[in-house]
Symmetry: C2
């Protein structure tokens, strides 16, 4: 562990940027959330991160000597060793941006940048209710589906920093076309976007439902499903079903101790996790002996901030 | 590395048991192969292994002081730490057999038992043409489909010693029933048995082909496909196709440096590997940057013997 007791964690999301000062038990002080905004060029991204950092540090100016550094979770392909955003799916103009160096120059603290799904996994691994298992796969379900794999007390980034792209496991042969260029990817069937797309299509076809085209989020679908809306329930359980196929393949190939479900759908709690477990244990070869645990995120929206800060605080991590 | 320069490797297969004295460069001396036979109770299994060991050691009796130990690759679920065969798919009566201890008592050398697909992967990792990559997944295609995962210079066994069951990744929703209890498992579509099953069905349906029900191995199908037999080619390429779906999911989730294809089909060489690569690179999300290499086994039938011996010779391995 790092000798200093605090680090700043930043979670750069598509809608909000969240930040805070995190202590070495995972507690967040001075939580700040600002809107990501629609103009997302590199200068603006840097400015927003610096804005958050200045807020957090000025609130803790007497503390600055105790702050070990800054961790930033960012969506996309990250070269963690060099602190560079190689590319980011929703920011096509952003290529090879040296974010860690640029922020470090301004803030005069060490800075680490990591893929956002990896920081969420790392947060759950270091500070979640089920912390420090032998191995963990954390699946973040939102607009897309991301994943973070923890093995040997380290984030497993793979050969070219792209490990954990669980949303692009192929779960349906010749399935729906995916933005990645392939077909039948998990995120086309189990992400929040997939649920909304299917609901929209059904409503437009005239299927009877309490769902409303003007207000249609995955959370709305969950609420309607809970109230027994037939369409909402069908869509919700279809998402569970396809995720269970992906998870069964992950368990059979990698046999992790625990799978954590994070992101928006985790808010549905046991309404989502219970049918998911039932299906996974039906399909997974290894289910009879030392079952892989399947749980929902216990840090919720804070997992990314905490995980980002723990990139710095847990100095055992091989960055 | 172990200070002693030799170990004995044994590869216990469904058809043959192979053994030999392996030096620390991976060379095999006094290779021995005997038939596994049909009577496979535990006593018989032990006797056959002891028979091979005595043959190898007596041929090298002056060497015994230089032999560091014995590694045994065995099909099934193995508790490597305790040297116990928990269960073996084709030997249902074999449960919790303390093979390592029983052999060690007789032979007075350290004995390690490991899952056979893992020993093949370990052999390729330690001594194959593409040795010591950052990470490797070795897929063994035969009657079933097995796998071995090497991460951080170690076999990744997972939480309950079942990692690498790649044959039970689900690649077809509601697909063919598998012996594991699930449906649509990869080995129902891409194993040698699957190819033979599909050929038999087609021949019985009267499909025109040069294939013959009385002599129908995966190798016969490969030979006929090479001679442009339409049915054989279709079956062969279908196996390639489904394997490519599984490999794409493995690359997208684990991003290994290299994937090695071992087992019988590897003998088809580029006739199998070339279309496989083409399909995988079409589906795999990460293919544009630092492509995962896909190669055929370079140790062939000897991978299991060498890998078993290297369980002992490579003392860095965390057993």
């Amino acid at each position: 562990m790092n000798k200093k007791k605090f680090a700043i964690g930043i979670d750069f999301g598509g809608t909000n940027i969240r930040g805070g000062l995190v202590d070495n038990t995972g507690k967040i002080k001075n939580y700040i959330k600002i809107s990501t905004g629609s103009q997302k060029n590199y200068q603006e991204i840097k400015n927003k991160i610096i804005f958050i950092l200045n807020k957090v540090i000025s609130k803790n100016s007497s503390f600055k000597k105790n702050i070990a550094g800054v961790g930033i979770g960012f969506p996309g392909l990250i070269d963690v060793q060099r602190g560079i955003i190689i590319k980011s799916p929703n920011l096509p103009d952003l290529r090879n941006a040296p974010l860690a160096l640029d922020i470090a120059k301004k803030i005069e603290l060490p800075v680490v940048v990591e893929n956002d799904a990896n920081t969420i996994a790392w947060g759950e691994y270091c500070c979640g209710k089920y912390k420090n298992p032998e191995s963990m796969i954390c699946i973040t379900i939102g607009t897309g589906i991301g994943g973070g794999i923890i093995i040997n007390n380290n984030i497993w980034r793979g050969f070219s920093n792209t490990a954990g792209e669980i949303g692009h496991m192929i779960i349906k042969e010749n399935g729906i076309k995916c933005g990645c260029g392939s077909r039948g990817c998990l995120e086309q069937y189990a992400s929040a976007s997939a649920m909304i797309r299917d609901a929209e299509k059904a409503i437009k076809r005239g299927v009877k439902t309490s769902l409303n085209l003007n207000k249609l989020t995955a959370f709305d679908i969950y609420k309607a499903a809970k109230k027994n809306d037939i369409l909402a329930k069908k869509i919700f359980l279809s998402s569970v079903h396809y995720l269970s196929l992906g998870i069964a393949s992950l368990i059979n190939s990698f046999n992790p101790e625990i799978i954590v479900i994070a992101g928006g759908v985790a808010k549905a709690g046991s309404f989502y996790i219970s049918p998911l477990k039932k299906e996974v244990y039906m399909y997974a070869y290894t289910s009879l002996i030392n079952k892989t645990k399947i749980v929902k995120s216990t840090l919720g929206d804070c997992a990314g901030i905490i995980g980002s800060a723990f990139l710095i605080l847990n100095a055992d991590l091989n960055l």
